[in-house]
């Protein structure tokens, strides 16, 4: 890790960031932060402005307005200072084809101000961490598979033990085993580095991240812990109920337990009907619904609460108007 320094409140700060290309606005008035040691998922549909935002934070692109800082250092005013705290792996992870993995990492370590007497040790360490030592260290990067190239990119990001790591789609093109490996690697960074990670694999983000930031059409639509967003964006709980009763009987039984309950028919087969029952969040009927239905004499084969995942949160967040319901 870099030399001891006062811990800033936020490792990454984006404050009213805006990026315009002529009449096209790629990012508009975007504000969020990442705390030291926190892993944050940066989500949005294709073309939402994720990569643009990451590039502005990494200093490879200038914003039209707003402020970006890395570990308290302004990216615009002191780009070299900000870069000393930052490692950035861009989306397509460009690598020189004609260098061997070890040579490339050694060069990058020198450029990233790793102390000369620690370069060899750091290169060896990150190659071990990213499982590159045995199968890739002496090979030309141009001959590596997509998975190994991604590992080289992540190894490069970790080389100088930065305070902040920004990874744009780090698991794109990887097989499930490799994704698992990368996920464990990122998880191991929790508490050591602030990580901002964009990915379309929402399950993966949910597994790894402490918090998510969701943008749509360049604007922030939601940010916070998954549980908080679930409560904010999905204000109901849903059950799948399989019963012989018809919709009217089921609705009557549900309403007896919770007057605001709603029932929607889903499917029907062999005399068994499948319904989706929704209750408001916080309704006491959530605990007692099964008992209420049995008490009402309904023939019940199955009742299960649906789990809303990050995918549901993402869909709910990206459906609503940009700027609506932001959280700080």
């Amino acid at each position: 890790m870099n030399e001891a320094a006062p811990l800033p409140e936020a490792a990454v700060v984006a404050e009213r960031l805006t990026k315009r290309y002529g009449s096209l606005t790629a990012v508009e008035d975007l504000s969020f932060s990442v705390a030291p040691g926190e892993i944050v998922g940066f989500l949005g549909p294709n073309g939402a402005g994720k990569s643009t935002t990451m590039r502005i934070l990494a200093g490879t692109m200038s914003g039209t307005s707003g402020r970006a800082s890395i570990w308290g250092v302004s990216v615009a005013l002191d780009p070299a200072g900000a870069k000393r705290h930052l490692a950035y792996m861009p989306e397509n992870n460009p690598l020189p084809e004609d260098l061997r993995v070890e040579e490339y990492l050694t060069l990058r370590a020198r450029l990233k101000d790793v102390a000369p007497d620690r370069v060899a040790e750091r290169v060896r360490r990150v190659m071990e961490d990213c499982d590159l030592t045995r199968r890739a260290s002496g090979r030309l990067i141009g001959q590596l598979s997509k998975g190994f190239r991604q590992r080289v990119g992540i190894a490069d990001a970790l080389l100088a033990e930065p305070r902040v790591v920004i990874l744009d789609e780090p698991t794109i093109g990887l097989d499930p085993h490799q994704i698992l490996g990368i996920r464990e690697l990122i998880r191991s960074l929790r508490g050591k580095m602030a990580v901002l990670i964009s990915s379309h694999i929402l399950h993966e983000v949910e597994q790894v991240c402490d918090k998510v930031v969701i943008i749509n059409r360049g604007r922030l639509v939601a940010q916070g812990r998954t549980e908080d967003l679930r409560r904010e964006l999905l204000p109901e709980v849903a059950f799948t109920v399989v019963t012989r009763a018809d919709e009217a009987a089921l609705l009557a039984a549900c309403r007896a337990a919770e007057p605001a309950a709603a029932v929607v028919a889903a499917a029907s087969a062999d005399g068994w009907n499948t319904f989706r029952v929704t209750l408001p969040v916080g309704s006491p009927a959530r605990e007692t619904l099964a008992g209420a239905l049995i008490g009402a004499g309904l023939a019940l084969r199955e009742i299960a609460e649906e789990r809303f995942g990050l995918e549901d949160i993402f869909l709910a967040a990206t459906r609503r108007a940009p700027g609506e319901g932001r959280r700080s």
Binding site: T60, K83, D98, R108, L111
Partner: protein, 253 residues
């Protein structure tokens, strides 16, 4: 200029391992070897105002236009196309260090090419007896010519680097460099052929035209005349081109 030495060592190593460099070296030595051979044959047929070495150096524009763009075209264009330049700029290395390292690496390779060419006259002299060897030309003319190549090469390489900065296509970068170098090399000669003296309104061109005499500079160097003006021209031109290249790299998004 942080990390300049690291970047320069990397660029030199990359150049040494690149097929592009070796192909350019082969083309350069074939061109210059052929020119020198014909210069020797001509000198053997009849006495000429210029020695074979000077006559060969007079054709410096040929490798300048055909070989140098091959060395400079990939420096930035290829890295911009592949995205490795953006990745490089995420490190604390400054754009100025990147530009200067690439510039100096190409310039060193270019000078090494010409030093390799210098072996031709020495090899020819070794195969001839004393009088004939002296007829090949003075060694001072060769070294003077090479000094001209090294000094003017600063500007020529800087132009190639700048051309490579402004595009993602290596082929287009080579074409731009070719046109720019052709214009620079021919400009002095073209201006000299114009009847400037008889056109009053073109009188202001007289002075710049005198400064841009590329072949005149070569003649001065081979004659051992050290004039400060070409040094200033090539020095300031180099700084201007590299400054623009740094701004271009910094401004790339």
């Amino acid at each position: 200029m942080r990390h300049f030495r690291t970047l320069l060592a990397h660029e030199l190593r990359s150049a040494a391992l690149s097929w592009n460099t070796w192909a350019a070296a082969g083309l350069f030595l074939a061109l210059m070897g052929g020119i020198h051979f014909f210069a020797l044959v001509d000198a053997a047929r009849a006495p000429a105002p210029r020695s074979p070495v000077e006559a060969t150096l007079w054709f410096f524009w040929l490798p300048l236009l055909c070989v140098l763009p091959l060395l400079t075209m990939r420096t930035f264009a290829e890295e911009r196309r592949s995205g490795t330049l953006a990745a490089l700029l995420t490190t604390p290395a400054s754009p100025a260090a990147v530009v200067w390292a690439k510039f100096l690496a190409v310039w060193i390779v270019w000078v090494l090419f010409w030093l390799a060419f210098a072996a031709f006259p020495f090899l020819a002299a070794q195969r001839l007896d004393g009088a004939n060897a002296r007829a090949l030309g003075e060694a001072s003319a060769l070294w003077g010519g090479l000094c001209f190549i090294a000094v003017s090469g600063l500007l020529h390489v800087a132009i190639g680097i700048l051309c490579s900065c402004v595009t993602r296509s290596a082929a287009l970068a080579a074409l731009l460099a070719f046109i720019s170098l052709l214009a620079l090399t021919a400009a002095g000669g073209a201006l000299e052929t114009l009847p400037i003296e008889s056109w009053e309104w073109l009188g202001w061109l007289r002075e710049p035209a005198a400064h841009l005499r590329t072949f005149g500079h070569l003649q001065d160097f081979t004659d051992g005349v050290l004039d400060a003006r070409p040094l200033v021209l090539y020095g300031t031109g180099t700084l201007l081109c590299l400054g623009l290249a740094v701004l271009t790299v910094e401004g790339q998004e």
